[in-house]
Symmetry: C2
Subunit: 342 residues, 2 copies
């Protein structure tokens, strides 16, 4: 995918100081007044100031070659975008505003030329788009490409959304369509040759957009009792929200906003359902809303559908309910690197 690098690129790329300088230069172009950064790249640490009346939000995310992306299938530009976008999804899930991030990057020497340039291009675009400034980082040489991103955001004091506030009777919503990113991944694995990343499912897999505006809007309107982002698939993430809240949930199968296929594609309902339940990487928001506030949740937000998919129950189990009212247990089989099942 990335063309082989020239000897000059390889030469230029050497030296950690050089690498840090290039990353820092790339970042400087994305500096924003409101980031809160007092000291950025280039010192022992970054110095960051929270806005008055706000708490800091901190989260870190692995993005590893072989586990989260494939060196020879994923464009470097997409890897740069996605490593930041997916980490920011955790800030969205708290209803927070992104401020700055730290980048830990380990590369083979062969990837410090053109590959790194494309990676930094994607990273910079995401940094601009989501108004999140590079505050610092660490680099190392490694055979396998390794990325770890720590994001720093803010939320109004004591107002960050947690997973633990869902109560029996609250309605369950999700944003967007579930399973699209997983479908994009499967498409990418099948494709030979050049990738058209504007193809919608492919685009959602390569360039996910954390639901930051939605999260902040829900925080402002105080509509939500519990929220999290869907990174590992509904069948894995919903039980996490329920466990944190000490509750269970009923999910209405017919209401799930699954991927839509043209009829000639001959995809079975069961396959679509599986994508919606088990597909990872969607970065949509899953949130619970007290009954009396349900009417205030719009059908869509900035063009993204918001769908009522179920209800929180007292019994601590997650149950799928079909249109005939038949119930079955939700199989917990989403993405888990330590089970290797997907």
């Amino acid at each position: 995918m990335t063309p082989p690098e020239t000897p000059r690129e390889r030469r230029v790329g050497n030296g950690e100081a050089n690498l840090l300088r290039r990353i820092a230069e790339s970042a400087a172009k994305g500096n924003f007044g409101k980031s809160g950064l007092v000291v950025g790249m280039g010192d022992d640490a970054a110095v960051w100031r929270t806005s008055p009346g706000h708490d800091g939000i901190l989260s870190c995310d692995w993005f590893l070659e072989g586990t989260h992306f494939l060196r020879d299938r994923h464009p470097a530009d997409s890897i740069g975008w996605k490593c930041l976008a997916r980490a920011l999804s955790d800030v969205a899930a708290m209803g927070g505003v992104p401020r700055c991030f730290l980048l830990s990057l380990a590369l083979p020497s062969s990837h410090t030329g053109r590959w790194l340039n494309e990676f930094l291009h994607g990273l910079r675009r995401a940094s601009y788009k989501f108004k999140c400034v590079l505050a610092g980082g660490d680099t190392s040489r490694n055979r396998q490409i390794l990325i770890s991103v720590t994001v720093v955001g803010e939320a109004r004091k004591s107002r960050a959304f947690l997973r633990s506030g869902a109560r029996p009777g609250h309605a369950l919503f999700t944003s967007g369509r579930l399973g699209e990113a997983e479908m994009g991944l499967r498409l990418l694995q099948k494709l030979r040759g050049r990738i058209n990343s504007s193809d919608p499912p492919l685009h959602k897999h390569l360039y996910p957009e954390p639901r930051l505006d939605l999260g902040q809007w829900l925080a402002e309107k105080r509509l939500v009792s519990a929220m999290m982002d869907l990174s590992d698939g509904l069948s894995t993430d919903l039980p996490r929200l329920c466990a944190a809240s000490g509750v269970g949930a009923h999910i209405y199968l017919e209401k799930l906003p699954a991927v839509q296929f043209p009829r000639w594609k001959r995809v079975t309902d069961e396959q679509i359902l599986e994508l919606a339940l088990r597909g990872g990487d969607d970065y949509e928001l899953l949130f619970a809303v007290p009954r009396q506030k349900v009417r205030r949740v719009p059908r869509s937000f900035q063009g993204i559908p918001l769908t009522l998919i179920g209800e929180i129950t007292e019994a601590r189990k997650c149950v799928l309910v079909d249109r005939h009212g038949t119930e079955r247990a939700l199989p917990n089989r989403g993405w888990d690197p330590f089970r290797g099942a997907k």
Copy 2:
């Protein structure tokens, strides 16, 4: 070093949720009232509140198998300790106080049993010792052991020490003895069989102590114009401080606090000097002090020697001066993963 794991340990270790739970349980035992943590492990992100009148300090550090430690030579307990201790050295270098940290950990399935327990034991001891609470993290499965630590600290508003404040005429100091950790590493590489980690150079390599108290004391007394920690060796780190300040430096060779060897060890002066200049992992503090404040710097702090090793100059180069007044350029040859030279 770490005994092979039993089938039960391997079984127990599976599952990312299980892994996160064990890490979280390990962390809970080290919770401190003053950490500023509002929400810790278990949600999408951590929520953290800065003390009034303070700025946040953020830094991240790789700790990678094969680059920063060896799986079959370094005890897991030391790896747990050191990954946090070395990251905290950046907080010490700003004169800051540690508050919390995020742990990104990727392990082979074979290492989620006894190895992980020992790792967490070392990590917990460091977390207690340096009063720094685990705030969150991410885990993944990977053939190579990968660790990235993000530390969060605080300093009084606009009082964090930077690298950029050194001016011509300022005196240069360093804490501790330089090259001890490097000597410990060489010892470790030679040793066969069981390691006695109480051996001083070995101990300094395996269980370094960030100079947090010293950094905070220097901040309180306002003695310092520029400071950084020595992680990659004086010959690499000093030019960084000088570049940030737009100055140069003279280092008096005879004053360097080098490692002391018993006479029968037959180590040449040149070898000792090389250790002091190029040895990495010391995590001592290098700091510049305005002339009129030099007398207020004690000879030692909490038993750690503080040594005047040179002077900041206007000419932007780093020069070694021997006892005869002969000058030579400081060879920049410390640790750089992208040069592979050490």
